[in-house]
């Protein structure tokens, strides 16, 4: 809660305001009742001071008022803090791919956009604000894999900005859109750089899944299902054909399978006999399922890509692979559309965003206000009854 410490002035004002109800209560305590009486002849000449009377009256009311003030102060400090946040109306989210492939003119156009004070450019990979230098600098054109839909969605769910407009700067490189597609929580404008190189050749890849000999555990079955789903997503990308072979150690020996792009053992490394591994078909990559378990399922297709496309020629394929702009921006794209509300069901490691503290404070304020009104009304009623009885 750095913001609490950062606004010392508001704190001081808040503490001063706390003194106000205390002063009012002290004043009302010292303000004795006035009463006419028939005779004072029976009063003692030196009446004793009753110390019990010195204690504050209406303590409940005072306490409620103090708590109410504290809540309001904290609430205002929270609002003050949120007001200090970048109050951007237009957030420009830039992918690394865009920074690598954008032309000078496109960079200038982005910089022009940023001249407006309400516009901010954010790096999608780091989540930090981009400096002018970072935008101007051309980065190395290295193939990176990303699910831009997922990253943008994730950023939007956790973004601290009060953004009215969101623009995503990306390329139409297929490597930037590997994985399931998400419906974004708010409307997004896409600025896509059309990379002109095209790739007409298709890639044929093979993935071997080795299942354990014993009864398949539920966790293994779930992992297998997730992998197959990721493969399915990849197969929907243009010009990519991945064939999946499912065997046990015994059955793979009997098969004619000679070579595969990658092999995934659906068991842990400890439970596999090394001698058995030698009987497997030739494979460029071999990995165990427990290595994939740590990966969030939306990012699993990307990991599979890294596993399957290790060869140089296939990397070159990715550099030329494109996805249509319509496929990027359309909201309905068939089977691979994922709605945010289903994130939990798909096993994504997404954290539920906690209710902001300001909301809690506002709720407490309302409750305290109601309580204060009740106590105040009760105190007034008691006082007026006393006054009526004592005909002060």
């Amino acid at each position: 809660m750095d913001w609490l410490a950062s606004s010392v002035g508001v704190w001081v004002l808040g503490l001063i305001s706390l003194a106000i109800p205390i002063a009012i209560h002290l004043y009302s305590r010292s303000k004795h009742q006035k009463m006419t009486f028939s005779t004072l002849a029976f009063f003692p000449d030196k009446p004793p001071q009753n110390h019990k009377q010195i204690k504050l009256t209406q303590k409940r009311l005072l306490l409620t008022r103090l708590l109410l003030l504290v809540s309001i102060i904290l609430l205002l400090l929270g609002l003050f803090n949120s007001e200090n946040q970048p109050d951007a109306k237009r957030i420009l989210i830039v992918t690394d791919d865009w920074l690598a492939f954008a032309s000078d003119e496109q960079r200038s156009a982005l910089l022009n956009e940023l001249k407006n004070d309400s516009a901010h450019s954010i790096s999608l990979s780091s989540g930090n604000e981009l400096s002018v230098e970072q935008i101007k600098e051309k980065t190395l054109q290295v193939t990176t894999y990303s699910n831009t839909w997922y990253r943008v969605s994730d950023w939007l769910l956790n973004n601290p900005y009060q953004a009215n407009e969101i623009v995503v700067y990306s390329t139409n490189g297929m490597s930037q859109f590997i994985g399931e597609k998400f419906i974004l929580p708010s409307k997004v404008e896409w600025q896509i750089i059309e990379r002109t190189e095209s790739n007409d050749s298709s890639l044929y890849l093979s993935l071997l899944l080795i299942e354990p000999n014993s009864n398949t555990q539920a966790a293994i079955a779930e992992a297998k299902k997730t992998i197959l789903r990721a493969v399915n997503v990849l197969n929907q990308l243009p010009n990519i054909n991945i064939e999946v072979y499912q065997h046990t150690i015994e059955t793979v020996k009997q098969s004619n399978l000679k070579q595969v792009s990658a092999t995934i053992m659906l068991s842990s490394a400890l439970s596999v006999n090394k001698n058995e591994l030698s009987t497997l078909p030739t494979t460029e990559k071999l990995l165990f399922v427990n290595e994939l378990e740590k990966i969030d399922s939306p990012l699993l297709p990307i990991e599979l890509i890294k596993v399957l496309f290790s060869r140089h020629a296939e990397k070159a394929f990715w550099q030329r692979a494109r996805i249509s702009q319509e496929a990027i921006t359309s909201t309905a794209s068939g089977n691979n559309l994922v709605i945010n509300q289903q994130i939990e069901n798909t096993g994504f490691a997404t954290e539920e965003k906690p209710l902001p503290i300001n909301n809690w404070l506002a709720l407490i304020c309302v409750l305290l206000f109601i309580l204060e009104r009740i106590f105040s009304e009760y105190t007034n009623r008691i006082t007026s009854e006393e006054m009526r009885h004592k005909h002060a």
Partner: protein, 298 residues
């Protein structure tokens, strides 16, 4: 009828009338038989003689004219003078807890009720209302007209300042003679024993005196709380006290005051009655009537 006595109050005090009649005619009047002989007989009507009537009451002159026996009936007037003496000092503005009335209003109603009873019984009624500013005096008289004047004057009374010193009004008190019943209504808050001086002089006139001390619940219980600045009604003196803290001492001082007052009045042969104005006035009337009965029975 005066506003001081509504029909409901009159209905309630009808029962009292019988008891007070006994008091007036039997008890107090009976103490002074020699003084009432031949007094208060005023012609009312003739009635045909019936067996059992006193032959001495037969009007022989009328018999000579009509040749029939007629008995002369008279309206009896009591020889009792009932004086209402009312303390009209500022302290009589002390109100009942519900704010319904103050001591003065209560005293007015009480005296009006007693005047009504007295009037119904044929007693003469008179009034002396006192404060240091104004002295309202109404001599004792019989008759309906005087009774109405009594009520009218009672209604006009206001309470201001303090009770006057004895030296300022002895001539009015001297008109109180024997065969008088003086009902003195006050809170008996005095600075220089003015009320006791009055009581002492009344007792010297050999008349019956009933001292009615009016109190309020607030005065009796003093159940206040918190810091209160009290202002004395008559003097304007202010004192700020923690009410709860002084309650015990206040109640003790008050008890001593009442005891002392009762003793002093008893020495003068004056009966002392305390009446709480927070209680119904009929209750007060019953207490007063009961006390008067006891006084007459002595």
């Amino acid at each position: 009828m005066s506003e001081l006595l509504d029909n409901a109050t009159i209905a309630q005090i009808k029962d009292l009338e019988i008891r007070t009649r006994i008091l007036a005619q039997g008890a107090i009047v009976g103490q002074h038989p020699s003084n009432i002989r031949g007094v208060g007989i005023e012609f009312n009507q003739y009635r045909v003689y019936e067996p059992g009537d006193d032959p001495g009451k037969i009007d022989w002159k009328l018999f000579s004219r009509n040749d029939r026996y007629f008995v002369r009936e008279a309206e009896k007037e009591s020889a009792l003078n009932v004086w209402g003496m009312l303390d009209c000092s500022e302290s009589m503005h002390e109100q009942s807890r519900d704010g319904h009335w103050d001591k003065l209003a209560f005293a007015k109603n009480l005296l009006a009720a007693l005047a009504y009873l007295s009037h119904q019984q044929g007693d003469a009624i008179g009034m002396l209302a006192l404060n240091s500013d104004v002295l309202q005096y109404l001599p004792v008289r019989h008759g309906q007209r005087h009774y109405h004047q009594y009520l009218l004057q009672l209604e006009k009374l206001t309470a201001v300042n303090t009770f006057p010193k004895w030296e300022t009004f002895p001539q009015y008190v001297h008109s109180v003679r024997q065969n008088s019943l003086v009902i003195l209504v006050s809170d008996f808050y005095e600075s220089e024993q003015e009320l006791l001086s009055l009581a002492q002089n009344l007792s010297n006139f050999h008349c019956e005196v009933l001292a009615i001390q009016l109190e309020t619940n607030d005065e009796v219980t003093f159940d206040f709380s918190g810091e209160i600045q009290f202002t004395e009604r008559e003097s304007g003196r202010k004192q700020t006290v923690s009410a709860h803290a002084i309650q015990e001492e206040y109640l003790l001082n008050r008890a001593l005051f009442n005891e002392n007052l009762t003793n002093q009045l008893a020495k003068l042969g004056i009966k002392h009655v305390k009446v709480n104005i927070d209680q119904p006035i009929v209750h007060a009337l019953q207490v007063v009537a009961s006390t008067l009965s006891n006084m007459g029975a002595r």
